[in-house]
């Protein structure tokens, strides 16, 4: 990038809010899983107007602008592919308003998910979406990826809590979308178009969030099964019994084994599936809900079923699930992580297929995740060798093929970004891809905003 342009941008945000030294820029060349290239500069804007000015310059001189929250993304969404300016929102991190009468919060994009949750909880309110990264991820990043978490089953994903947005369009215009009301149907639903668009259609500078009352009580149940089918049938039976748990997390055979090695919980041998179930609600109904869940689980031949309402004990029960992601690295140094979703009834088919692939390819393939949503994080653990990489590549293609065959989607919550762009065509028809590309071109005619993402070049 031209030094003069860099200078102009420094003028916009102020010297103390721009980084140009290579060692600094390098820090913004990767996210939690994907490496890209260093940007030409990194800036920390403080307002929508500053963002707008930068985007106007970007159109004039045609350089890439890449929005970035906390860089915890898993698909390279915030990673530059050929230089440009990274916009980091750590300065725009305020909770502007909590409206306890209308159950609304207005926040800046850089606010940390967890901090929003903590703050609204002080008023007895609840912002449900809970990606595992919630302690670090930004709400802007959550909105851009349409993040979800364990309690999406009962409460939905980020999209369900975004009522409206302030967005700077790639061409610089600042617009407001959506409503502050519980419903509204005026015109096209731009809000839901921007949510999940991975920073490719506009830069989010303000978010109106819907809140709900904080549930009174919680109970946690851990269940162990010999066969994956028994676990899957339990999930269906629980939901068929009109119980909507706030979470149903699953771990497959390989995941249980891996976590047991890293963090022994004293589980019996030969397990084929684990479920971690959480129910919430008012004090009255929590016991009866939990009992009903236990009864169902035992009917489905669980070998063990533990229930607690004590937060400390619950933490212990969650331990296997929480530490798993890290423990996988004990198996092999490199992780290829997928985030597929299938309809609930197809869970056993998918898990059996993955078990079969693990055997056939001879590399560890672990799956765990949000079973109630049919959302599985599939971790393929490999050594950093060409043979292993090749095998993993094959496996990924097979996993996607199976997922699509079962009516599912390639990404439940992590987005497409850079790392899955090459595969999107497996899920979407050329006509759908074409429609999306047309929308991208309409919004961003010079392709300056987060180029190279979602659509493979």
């Amino acid at each position: 990038m031209d030094a003069k342009i860099i200078d102009e941008i420094v003028q916009i945000v102020g010297k103390e809010n721009a980084l140009t030294a290579l060692e600094h820029r390098k820090c913004y060349s990767y996210d939690a899983r994907t490496d890209g290239v260093a940007p030409d500069m990194v800036v920390f804007p403080s307002s929508a107007e500053e963002v707008s000015q930068i985007l106007i310059l970007a159109n004039r001189h045609v350089f890439p602008v890449i929005p970035r929250g906390q860089g915890t993304g898993l698909t390279g969404g915030s990673v530059p592919v050929n230089g440009g300016v990274v916009l980091v929102f750590t300065r725009m991190n305020k909770i502007l308003e909590i409206d306890t009468e209308n159950l609304i919060a207005i926040v800046e994009p850089g606010a940390i998910t967890f901090e929003i949750q903590e703050e609204v909880a002080r008023y007895g309110l609840f912002y449900p979406p809970d990606p595992a990264s919630y302690k670090y991820s930004s709400i802007g990043g959550n909105a851009a990826e349409c993040a979800g978490g364990p309690n999406s089953l009962k409460y939905g994903v980020t999209r369900d809590y975004v009522l409206g947005l302030e967005v700077v369009q790639p061409t610089g215009e600042i617009i407001n979308t959506g409503v502050k009301t519980m419903k509204g149907v005026v015109g096209y639903d731009l809000t839901r178009l921007f949510v999940g668009s991975e920073g490719t259609l506009g830069v989010i500078t303000k978010i109106i969030l819907k809140l709900i009352p904080l549930p009174e009580a919680k109970a946690t149940i851990l269940a162990l099964f010999r066969e994956v089918e028994e676990a899957a049938e339990s999930v269906s039976a629980i939901i068929a019994a009109r119980i909507v748990p706030s979470a149903i997390e699953f771990m497959d055979k390989a995941s249980i084994k891996c976590s047991e090695q890293a963090n022994p919980m004293g589980f019996p041998e030969g397990l084929g599936g684990l479920l971690l179930i959480e129910v919430d609600g008012d004090n009255e109904s929590i016991q009866s809900q939990a009992k009903k869940v236990q009864k169902i689980i035992l009917e489905k031949n669980a070998v063990q079923c533990t229930m607690t309402q004590d937060p400390k004990e619950a933490d212990t029960l969650w331990k296997a699930r929480r530490t798993l992601s890290q423990a996988t690295y004990n198996l092999n140094p490199v992780k290829i992580a997928e985030d597929v979703v299938v309809p609930r009834s197809k869970i056993p088919t998918l898990i059996r297929a993955l078990e079969e692939m693990e055997k056939r390819f001879g590399i560890p393939i672990l799956s765990f995740g949000h079973a109630g949503d049919g959302n599985f994080h599939v971790s393929i653990m490999i050594k950093d060798t060409p043979e292993d990489r090749e095998k993993a590549e094959e496996a990924v293609k097979e996993i996607f093929t199976e997922t699509i065959k079962l009516g599912g989607t390639l990404s439940g919550e992590h987005g497409i970004g850079l790392s899955k762009a090459a595969y999107l065509g497996m899920e979407l028809s050329p006509e759908v891809m074409n429609t999306m590309k047309k929308i991208k071109r309409l919004f961003d005619p010079n392709n300056i905003l987060n180029p190279g993402k979602i659509f493979a070049v």
Partner: protein
Amino acid sequence: MIDIKNIQEIKIIVGDEWVSAGQSVRELHSHDESFHTPVLPDVVVWPHSTEEVSNIVKWAYEKDIPITPWGVGTSLEGNPIPVRNGISIDFQEMNKVLAIRQEDFQVDVQAGVVYKELNKTLGHHGLLFPPDPGAAATIGGMIGNNASGIRTVKYGATKDYVMRLTVVLPGGDVIHAGNRARKSSSGYNLCALFTGSEGTLGIVTEATLRLVGLPVNFMAVRAVFPTVLNATNTVFQVMSSGLSPSAMELLDGKVMEVLNRDRGYSLHEQPTLLMEFNGYSETGLREEMACVEEICQENACSFLDKGIGASERSRLWDMRHLTFESIKRSHTNLLPLIMDVAVPLSRYSEIVTFAREEVKDLVAYVFGHAGDGNVHVVVMDNPEDKGRWARVEEANRKIVLKALELEGTCTGEHGVGIGKRQFLEIEHGESLALMQRIKALLDPKDLMNPGKFFV
């Protein structure tokens, strides 16, 4: 204009008996349930498949003939009126439930399925599609308008239940937007773009809908108040106390009068709230009820009927659903203008009070989905009487502007159609331009339900 030769060509696509240019058929497809001026389509077609719809659209797009999809025409803003004539595509023949996937809580339907029929079928499987506008609406029309209903307060609007759509794009290409996974972050959310677009971006032929389990336990309440303000204050307090009613409807005293007269009820002719709670345990419900009762008492509730049984419950909801019908029947020589503003809940009392004051000199009824902050003001008058109608329009405008001032919206659920076009710019400012560009992008010839949304 469509000529005889054109009609022959359409017949080749859909079959002889599924095309009509008969006067009465065209008249039927010329108006919805509002006062908006009827406009006749040149021809009505009843396709049977996505392929036929695609072929019709392809054919019409080449010939520059406007196309307007038609569910059953129960809209209230002129949404399905073919203002530039052309083809009205009626989905009556595409009314099949294609697959019920009980375990996944999903159903695949064709666009012409009437949601009430759908729920009858789903009920046998213990399932429910929650949005319920009350009228005999089709799924296609509900997706078109992103319809809501009395259960929206707990369950959300149609958009919250649309997982996957088969859409015929302008020009005739067919796409499948979305998928059957419960969540997805892959690519842009096209489903959201089509839902609520009133047929202006494409035509929905099939949908996969998310369902919920039929609730186990219910409790309904009818609470009567001396003043509307008492009632609206109750609404706010119930909603902000952490209770989660599955319905929360307001009916003013005049509505109750009409219902008694038209339906032979003998209900208190005073401001009334109808509430329903559903849930997992009866004890939980009883606790909620105690809470509700207390709030009602604090607001001078003069009569409270609770713990209403199943048959009484359905009578209450019938009554609510019949409200609009009863109002119309009581003024057969007049036509309705229906306002549909929504505001943040804390401003609900304010907007209702303002609206009632504004329509004092008119034949007007106030009711609505109070728990959503949504209020309907139905004014009955004669559009032919220019002077009087100007006054009706003025009231409409003032109430909408007030709602916007209160950080609300001009339409909570009925959509833009013809009636709300004038307010789009005020409400959206800059983003209106973006909407126009999206329209021009997908429908460059402006043939899909033209004349709606944008002035």
